[in-house]
């Protein structure tokens, strides 16, 4: 069993790139003047000749990445999610997605947990944007070990991938020896029959906490970690819907177009069941410490727990 570490997934990303570099000489890393923050600085230090700082020009960075990929490179074009997925959306769609080029678009500091920088930098729309691009694989790993596995899977996958990274340090939990990352496959972290909680990214560890509390109160909740939001693990979700009848989705992202909508889309034809979506409710964030913001927006274990109890008609009086 690997050790438990508390680390932001952006750090795990920077480490993974550096570790993979020898085996994959085609990998090159691009950044837009945020290498210290996105942790591509690890790679820059180890492989300066394979690191390209594009300056504060994300649209061009994505286009340059497309050109590099057209010549056989595997570029990781990295910036804050707001800019790589947001500002450069059309470059991702037309220069990377449409020609199916082997570019990995990386969005760091995603979600509300950017914290103090405030609404302009808190991207809660990146998953929605990237999901709409035909053929785009969308990955949102939950901890250190999952991020490392996801980076490796992204390198091996020949085609466009969006990879979401967080700023905040998270406790690792995917440290068991039998942990296996498979692109497009969800992971059942806890079996249960009363309802299913489907979580992604930063919210998985919080959901894990919630199901433990629920179990103590006699509620048998299933927990599924969806690290690949596209293509989503439809089979696993339909099975959970059939067996538990109720689903709660949890994401640090807008409830519009993210994991919640992806889950609803997967279930609607085969097994429509009631789904409650926990996420950012069609609103902007604001400045503040990340942990406080997560609490304010209901992105914590307590809110997941309350929502589950209410869903089951077991509100605390």
């Amino acid at each position: 069993m690997a050790e438990m570490v508390k680390k932001a997934t952006r750090e795990s990303y920077g480490e993974a790139l550096t570790e993979l570099a020898e085996d994959y000489p085609q990998v090159v890393v691009l950044d837009a003047d945020l290498a210290e923050a996105t942790k591509t600085a690890f790679f820059r230090k180890a492989y300066p000749n394979r690191f390209i700082d594009c300056g504060i020009a994300e649209s061009n960075m994505v286009g340059v990445a497309a050109g590099l990929a057209a010549c056989g490179k595997i570029p990781f074009a990295t910036s804050f999610a707001m800019f790589s997925a947001g500002r450069a959306y059309e470059q991702v769609r037309n220069s990377v997605g449409y020609p199916k080029l082997n570019v990995k678009i990386v969005g760091s500091h995603a979600g509300i947990s950017v914290g103090e920088d405030g609404a302009t930098h808190q991207c809660c729309e990146d998953i929605a944007l990237m999901r709409t691009i035909p053929g785009m694989v969308v990955l949102n790993p939950a901890d250190h070990y999952e991020m490392k596995a996801a980076v490796k899977a992204a390198v091996r996958w020949n085609g466009p991938v969006y990879l979401r990274l967080g700023r905040l340090a998270v406790e690792s939990f995917n440290n068991s020896d039998d942990y296996k990352f498979e692109l497009g496959k969800g992971i059942t972290l806890r079996d249960g029959k009363d309802l299913t909680i489907v979580a992604t990214g930063l919210m998985v560890s919080r959901a894990l906490e919630a199901v433990k509390h629920l179990a103590e109160q006699g509620i048998d909740a299933r927990l599924i970690n969806i690290h690949t939001i596209k293509p989503i693990d439809r089979g696993l979700l339909v099975k959970a819907a059939k067996e538990t009848g109720k689903i709660i989705t949890v994401e640090e992202h807008s409830v519009i177009g993210g994991l919640g909508d992806a889950v609803c889309g997967a279930l609607s034809e085969e097994c429509p069941v009631p789904v409650v979506k926990i996420g950012v409710n069609d609103q902007y964030g604001h400045s503040g410490p990340a942990m406080d913001l997560l609490d304010e927006f209901g992105l914590n274990a307590a809110h997941i727990e309350e929502t589950a109890k209410k869903f089951l008609g077991r509100e605390t009086q």
């Binding site: 061009n60 994505v62 340059v64 050109g67 590099l68 990929a69 056989g72 570029p75 470059q91 449409y98």
Partner: protein, 281 residues
């Protein structure tokens, strides 16, 4: 270049124009004006300048071309067909359902197209990436990209220009098809990117201004471009929009409109006349 070679290129360019008109006419839509202004430049690149082989369209060491002004696709397609990348008959199916030739270049579906383009400003960035890859891998190939003078109003163009200058991409040659017109009117009246040459120079480019319909001038400019070290090159090619078809020349309205049956006949008459004159010489 001698007179005979020059005439041969003119003949090819005339055939490129005919192919472009044919495509747009059959598609009942498309962009004739900018295809015709670029026809001589495209002809020169594919028949004189670039080291490419239609038998091996994906060869690693080939020179690359990115049509950043992707709406000039009918001109590019006619050039590629004449070069032998695909049958001329494809031109008649331009923009048709199920056809290979899309409204804007699609590298997945069309042999010889090195980058998918159409959304303005994006091709230039991709060309920079290709040139950088060449540098990283110590490859000998060169990258050519054709920009529109309207297109350079896009901010991404200047992000890319800054990138090319910063990375000393001397294997990159950007050609501006400066025909002076865009959809809403003369470029100078719509947004005014002038002075284009000084802008590129300020971004670290070696800049030349040439007549974009003069093959001798292109030969000289390309020769110079290849001799420049540590700097990317920009060639501002002064062109006439709609060149070669009497009623389309310098007309804003022929930016993105297909000729009707009568207009098609007149265009073909114009071009056939030019062709027979050239062939008679």
């Amino acid at each position: 270049m001698d007179a005979k070679e020059n005439r041969q290129l003119q003949i090819l360019a005339c055939k490129v124009r005919m192919g472009a008109i044919e495509g747009v006419y059959r598609a009942k839509s498309g962009h004739p004006g900018g295809s015709l202004s670029a026809a001589d430049l495209l002809t020169y690149l594919y028949f004189r300048e670039m080291r490419v082989n239609p038998e091996h369209p994906k060869a690693e060491n080939r020179d690359r071309f990115v049509l950043s002004k992707g709406h000039g696709a009918p001109g590019l397609y006619a050039t590629l067909a004449l070069k032998g990348y695909f049958p001329m008959a494809e031109l008649k199916k331009l923009r048709h359902i199920g056809a290979m030739l899309q409204g804007h270049p699609d590298m997945k579906g069309t042999p010889g197209v090195d980058m998918s383009t159409g959304s303005l400003g994006q091709g230039f960035s991709a060309a920079c990436g290709m040139a950088l890859a060449g540098k990283m891998d110590r490859m000998e190939y060169r990258v050519y990209t054709l920009l529109g003078d309207g297109e350079i109003e896009e901010g991404e163009i200047w992000e890319a220009a800054m990138f090319a200058g910063h990375h000393h991409l001397d294997n990159l040659c950007a050609i501006v098809d400066s025909n002076g017109l865009q959809i809403d009117g003369p470029v100078a009246q719509v947004a005014g990117p002038a002075p284009i040459d000084e802008k590129f120079r300020a971004f670290g480019f070696d800049v030349q201004i040439i007549d974009g319909h003069d093959f001798g001038a292109m030969e000289k400019a390309m020769k110079h471009a290849k001799s420049v070290k540590d700097q990317p090159c920009a060639i501002i090619a002064q062109t006439v929009k709609g060149k070669g078809v009497s009623y389309m020349e310098n007309q804003v309205s022929w930016h993105g409109k297909a000729p009707n049956d009568e207009q098609y006949a007149v265009a073909m008459q114009d071009l056939n006349r030019t062709l027979s004159e050239l062939e008679a010489e």
